[in-house]
């Protein structure tokens, strides 16, 4: 049996992602976990604002701005985790996930956090992402997740544009 993954407007304030099988649910549940910056991805999540050229600005940034960014990223992950707890089982149609409009940017950001963390940790650059990573490669699953999360980001961004027009 095949299920079609779709993102549709449920009502004026909510989008629904439906047709989720257990594998895709697992992929979604991984977003908040993967998006947590670790040692390897911290430099990408909190880069120098001056490229290392202004020591004083960098120092002030680390003291005052970085904690704010950490808080924002954490709020994003928590918001996604809360939405994921409300997934519904629709039997043969798979699981459904509601994404409230007020959380849409959180989802777009959260997906981005996960993509960036995966790419940093697995050393996936432009070349690797443009070509198909061989399935037997250790980074194959990471590359797949990056593409999947990118697809969901595109869908949410498209919905954004459609609503604005």
């Amino acid at each position: 049996m095949s299920r079609k993954l779709t993102l549709k407007r449920k009502d004026a304030d909510t989008l629904t992602l439906s047709g989720l099988d257990s594998f895709l649910c697992e992929m979604l549940q991984s977003i908040p976990v993967l998006g947590t910056p670790g040692e390897a991805s911290a430099e990408r999540f909190f880069p120098s604002p001056t490229g290392g050229n202004e020591a004083q600005v960098d120092e002030d940034w680390a003291s005052y701005v970085r904690p704010e960014l950490e808080e924002q990223f954490s709020e994003t992950r928590n918001c996604i985790a809360e939405d994921l707890k409300k997934m519904r089982d629709k039997g043969r149609s798979g699981m459904e996930l509601d994404i409230p409009d007020i959380h849409r940017w959180q989802w777009i950001h959260g997906l981005n956090q996960a993509r960036l963390a995966l790419a940093t940790v697995h050393g996936l650059g432009e070349a690797e992402l443009e070509q198909n990573v061989p399935l037997q490669a250790p980074a194959a699953m990471a590359a797949f997740q990056i593409q999947l999360y990118g697809l969901l980001q595109e869908w949410l961004l498209t919905e954004f544009s459609d609503d604005e027009e």
Partner: protein, 121 residues
Amino acid sequence: MKDTPMELLQIRVLGLIQAPVGFVEDSRVIAALEAPELDDLVALDVPWNVVVHNDPVNLMSYVTKVFQKVFGFSKERAEKHMMEVHKLGRSIVWTGAQEKAEFYVQELHSNLLLATLEKSV
């Protein structure tokens, strides 16, 4: 004879220093108003660029949308800067006062774009 640019700058700087002091009557406040060094004021005037750098992971549509959200750019202008980042590796998206430039870089970092500040010289 016209004033040279440096003379004009000095007149403006002196005006900045002297104007508020003349209106302050409390001597303790006057003492607290320490005249800034000329170099400091000149440094404040140096514009800063906000530069966005290429990143292999961020989607082009995402970068465009962030430019629209952060700077209020039209879609066309946002796409122009996004393509500049994509093709040339970087794009200067804003130039102005340091404090505002820092604000914009923070906004871009909060959207996980690679952005830096640099003095515009």
